[in-house]
Amino acid sequence: MRSFSSRYLLAVPALAGSLALVASRPTAPTVAPDPNNAGLKLPAGFGALVVAETGGKARHLAVTPQGVIYVKLNKVKDGKGILELRPQANGKATVAGGFGNYGGTGMYEKNGYLYASSDHAVYRYKLDAKGGVTNPTSPELLVRGLKVGSQHESKSIVLDNADNLYVNIGAYANACQEQDRTRGSKGIPNCPILDSAGGIWQFKASQANQTYKTGTRYATGLRNVVGLDWNQQDNELFVMQHGRDQLSDNWPTLFNEKQSAQLPAECMYAVKQGDNAGWPYLYYDPQQKKKMLGPEYGGDGKKEATGNYIDPAAAYPAHMAPDGLLFYTGNMFPAKYRNGAFIAFHGSWNRAPEPQAGYYVVFQPFVNGKPSGQWEVFADNFSGSAAKTASGRADHRPCGLAQGPDGSLYVSDDSKGTIYRIVYNAKK
């Protein structure tokens, strides 16, 4: 997106006449927020509109430079696992069709290609000059045979600038116990899950038929990552981990319900090749700001973990389920948002019987490619009310994030399938 807008800026002096008119015209005024801001609560100057109601489990989404929106559905609907939404003049969009007979989560656009993932494979589609998919029924199969269990199935995807594809493979367990999620069950030494899951794998973005054998385990010890993005400022991968569940359920003599609701933090990690974030052996305690030894491996809530594990770049309240991460590189929003991170928190379930939390989009300021300063709630009330947040019976659950060519922020909801667009209309 950055290259998109800077290209126009460069073009202005060259073609001063007509293009100056285009460039001097603000990019957003035709996009009017809904009168109720789509039900969202936003900072002053921002507005929101419902772009479309897809009625599907809308996971991640991507917006092409032409404004075409592609939405990955978790479950195939009417034979379609990917929906194509065509933009309208009023800033909304209509579902123009769909393709891809598989459910999944990953949806990413870069350099004229659309990337999509099922729960065990990654595909690539070619885009034409209008942002349309040229080969809807015959995508390239880039990666196949990825491990999938009955939890943390999502394979979320992102690309760097060197033709590499990063794929999250979630651990199919809570804490690598001998008996998953079972009270008192110990952790398996040298957790075997980590051989093929619980980390980020690197593949080539333009090579067909890759498998574990041809890929690289880029980073390990990450329980489950759904939101991830490539930071263009320091050329580094950032991921959001879903922290472990059920400290109190499984270790009631060590943790009470309140502690279990507040531990561990949902962590953001800056990930370099070879990094190990420590799952399942540790969890991150945001109050103590320490990596703690997990109870499955002899921890008691007081013992720190030892070993060569990376620290989180930032920490957020427990169990809120970060499902989307996006570094904002647009020009529409005020300067403080530029190069900062938006995080979509899908909302918790593992806080019961304590009140649930999340169901909102957070903004995390960044300076020079590092989190800097306190995060803040950016877009709230996806759930519909405070009571619906507390009970976990949310109307909508934010999942995917994408940036439009004009700098709008798009948010998908995988509960009812609503696609939101957040715009900034106040004077900068």
Binding site: K57, N74, K75, S150, Q151, E153, Q179, D180, R181, T182, R183, G184, D245, Q246, S248, D249, P252, S260, W349, N350, A352, P353, S391, G392, R393, R397, S415
Partner: protein
Amino acid sequence: MTIKYLVLALGLAGGALSLQAQHRPAPKKTATKAKADPAMAASLTRGAVVYKNVCITCHQADGGGVPNMNPPLIKTTYVLGDKARLAHIVLAGLAEPIEINGDDYKQHMPAQNYLTDQQVADVLTYVRNSFGNKASAVQVAEVKAVRDKLPK
């Protein structure tokens, strides 16, 4: 009553099942009896404690479960149907994804076999008579019979 449930269970086992409960609520006299039945009332009270300590995280305070992960316990045939199957899920866990009302629930249910027969009977009686459910109590002997058949 038993036969009705058995038939229902067999029908379910058959396949093409909508897990939308086709269940008919238990006869009213059972519910009335339950209120007047001090043993059932005591079981419900104990069952509520077990539910809060063991089940609530996944199945939630309202019994509604968690979308895509943990199934709801509200008027499903799993809860209202065959009691032996229900007790088996608690004692042995459930390791296969299930579909209820067109939604998939994939997270494995861990075995809760550390619970006593009494605790399992109490919590299942509680679940079968909470969240809008109304069904007969689960007896300790019924749980024991299921536990005795589990592989040792």
